[in-house]
Symmetry: C2
Subunit: 201 residues, 2 copies
């Protein structure tokens, strides 16, 4: 079996959302599984000295606010900016890893549902309650999710993932690895596809 | 005649170089002329509070140093990082506008020659003498170029272009406008192409 694609993303990242709607199909086309790996941009930004795109000077932030929905439309997906943005995705990310260690397919479905709620519908997915509601829609016990996101082991699991992401050079979302080769940004999906098709250049 | 594509770039921008090798063919495919518009990232960075990509924290700069040649190879073009980077492209930019007001086709040929010297061959194109040498290779009088880059009118011409770029929201290189719609980055060439083909979405 070829190595899975590592798909790093923050649930609060618009371009992560866009890439999330494409990455599984892209992997499947080239016989690759995709490992979804949420991380926290807030932790990474301390290392990269970066800021959320909407908190940059107006000449840049205005562009991104225009480009988020424009890029989404190009891929034919719905886009609605959440009222609170950026938001802290720590609860959703913990819930994801708790699920991933039990049922990887369900965890990926959950990640897609979180992204769709946040950027497809503009809902607030930051609170643990909102995360548990999204899980409930996939048949995951609400109380179990609420308990899981407060477990020390689950908190540690996310922390280790974030540290590992930084060690691997992840500084933005999405960040995609194919056989150790890293690509930053939804704009790089054509590069990722070419790498998958050719084995690199 | 449809509106020309506005192609904004800094001669010191690796991704501007990459886009410069594609933009004329992209325009021609869709019946569009391309207006080449060098500007100075240094001036723009004061507004956008940004820094050259190689002067960012290592987690980011390491990525870009790896990605510049990788992206160039994807397009099948040569890439050699200039020893002095970033460099001040003010002389080349002045020479460009001086030429552009006299012979637009020659000015574009000159811009391509500057970019090829800088990033295809890694030569130092910052000094006026280097710029004049590149012009001489295209049959442009060396002494005339050296005189032009010191003319007040030519200096003003570049200043006005840089101000205009900032007014239009240009904050990085390359930055491409199609019918008033702006796209940032060489990665956005597929978006630009889609916009040209469909008239927007």
């Amino acid at each position: 079996m070829p190595t899975p694609i590592d798909f790093y993303f923050d649930f609060s990242s618009p371009y992560g959302y866009i890439a999330s709607t494409q990455i599984d199909a892209l992997g499947a086309k080239h016989g690759r599984a995709v490992t979804w790996r949420p991380f926290l941009l807030g932790a990474v930004f301390k290392v990269s000295e970066a800021r959320p795109l909407t908190q940059l000077p107006p000449i840049k932030s205005n562009y991104f606010v225009h480009d988020f929905p424009r890029s989404a439309r190009m891929f034919g997906i719905s886009y609605k900016m959440p009222a609170a943005f950026p938001f802290l995705a720590v609860q959703a990310s913990r819930a994801y890893y708790w699920l991933a260690d039990r049922d990887a397919a369900k965890a990926t479905a959950f990640a897609k549902a979180v992204y769709h709620a946040a950027f497809g519908e503009g809902r607030d997915v930051a609170p643990a309650e909102a995360v548990a509601d999204i899980g409930a829609g996939l048949g995951i016990d609400r109380a179990a999710t609420l308990a899981a996101v407060n477990e020390a082991a689950v908190k540690d699991r996310l922390r280790v993932e974030v540290d590992e992401a930084i060690k691997r050079g992840v500084f933005g979302s999405p960040f995609i690895f194919v056989d150790g080769e890293g690509f930053w940004g939804a704009d790089r999906l054509p590069h990722v596809e070419r790498w998958l098709a050719t084995g690199g250049w």
